[in-house]
């Protein structure tokens, strides 16, 4: 009953290349590289471990660095992740835009940190 693995869990579980899995975490800042043909590379992090993700295709509106992401695809033997689908995950913070856009109350964490 696992929807996605965090990077740490993925490294522990080390699924075979043929097993379709999902990887969830934060898109590491300054790690996003865009190439021709809608190809991108980025690093997913859970602030403990990191995994590099390769993807080709369209991206959801909310996808960006510093944002949560869930990638569906295959964990390669090289330790990288080849994604077929990218889903953006946003945190539980809702607020109006500010000039600085500094964080308001809200953990910006992947797993609903601080929920009762």
């Amino acid at each position: 009953m696992v929807f996605y693995y965090t990077t740490t869990e993925m490294l522990l579980k080390a699924p075979r290349e043929t097993e379709k899995v999902r990887l969830g975490g934060m898109v590491k800042s300054q790690s996003l590289k865009k190439y021709d043909d809608q190809r991108i590379e980025f690093i997913v992090s859970d602030f403990v471990e990191e995994i590099k993700v390769f993807y080709r295709g369209s991206l959801p509106d909310l996808f960006r660095e510093g944002q949560g992401v869930v990638a569906e695809g295959y964990y390669l033997s090289s330790g990288d992740f080849k994604a077929n689908t990218i889903l953006a995950k946003h945190d539980e913070t809702y607020r109006p835009p500010t000039i600085n856009d500094n964080g308001f109350k809200g953990s910006n964490s992947i797993n609903g940190g601080g929920a009762q």
Binding site: M1, L59, P60, L87, F104, K105, I110
Partner: protein, 249 residues
């Protein structure tokens, strides 16, 4: 004025008196809520205008859960006080909760496709809410098929009480499992993570939805009580007409 609500007659008198006020309050709160949502709340720093779906999606979710909990309470009290009226009330409010569940899921899908990139995923939150819808449907099928027959109401009551285990599962699903659905924004350890300019309208919409649920519940319960009175009247007529037929010994 003292109304004995636990008896059918008492409840009907209370409803006769209170229903216009309930309806008026419902309309008022809905109008205030919608005005605030469309004209007074800011757009979200990330989601822009799409965030306004939240003001329907979240109250619907709360009501879907709340009505199922309410059914559980009514059914439990029905066993404790041995009151058929309470079982009947649970039967009456079930479709209201079911519709709120559908609204929650539909608005969630409309929100998820642009925001997440998916109409639906089988993560723990969405799956457990789908199960809630299923539990409502099973309860409604059972109690509808056999009418307000006391046995079917009691069996339905037991199913609804067992199904209540799903309620904390739904609430904590975003904590216990890795989910695409985000974590709690209102009831959480650090306090709400929604800005007050959005939180207040959200709570007002929740109150408005609750008024809808309350008004419709009272209407439906009243309807069932009328139906029962009509049925017993018909039954009495049949018995009386049977008595008129002379029996030849």
């Amino acid at each position: 004025m003292k109304f004995n609500m636990v008896t059918a007659k008492g409840f009907q008198r209370w409803i006769g008196w209170g229903l216009p006020y309930l309806a008026a309050l419902t309309v008022l709160m809905t109008a205030i809520g919608l005005y605030l949502v469309f004209f007074q709340t800011p757009s979200d720093y990330q989601q822009k205008e799409t965030v306004r779906i939240m003001f329907v999606h979240v109250p619907s979710a709360w009501l879907a859960l709340g009505i199922y909990a309410g059914m559980g309470v009514l059914n439990l009290m029905g066993f404790v006080w041995r009151s058929p009226l309470l079982f009947l009330s649970a039967r009456a409010i079930a479709p209201i909760g079911f519709v709120f569940t559908l609204i929650c899921i539909a608005t969630g899908m409309l929100w998820g496709k642009p925001m997440w990139g998916a109409w639906w995923v089988w993560d723990a939150r969405l799956t457990s809410v789908a199960i809630l819808g299923f539990l409502y449907a099973v309860y409604m099928l059972l109690t509808h098929t056999y009418g307000s027959n006391e046995a079917s109401l009691k069996v339905g009551a037991i199913i609804s009480l067992i199904g209540c285990i799903n309620l904390p599962i739904i609430k904590f699903s975003v904590n216990w499992w890795n989910t695409l659905h985000q974590g709690a924004s209102v009831i959480r350890m650090d306090g709400p993570s929604i800005h007050p300019s959005m939180l207040i309208p959200l709570l007002i919409m929740a109150a408005a939805f609750s008024m809808w649920a309350l008004t419709l519940s009272c209407l439906r319960i009243q309807g069932f009580l009328w139906e029962q009175r009509l049925q017993s009247k018909r039954l009495r007529q049949i018995i009386n007409s049977m008595r008129e037929v002379p029996s030849y010994v």
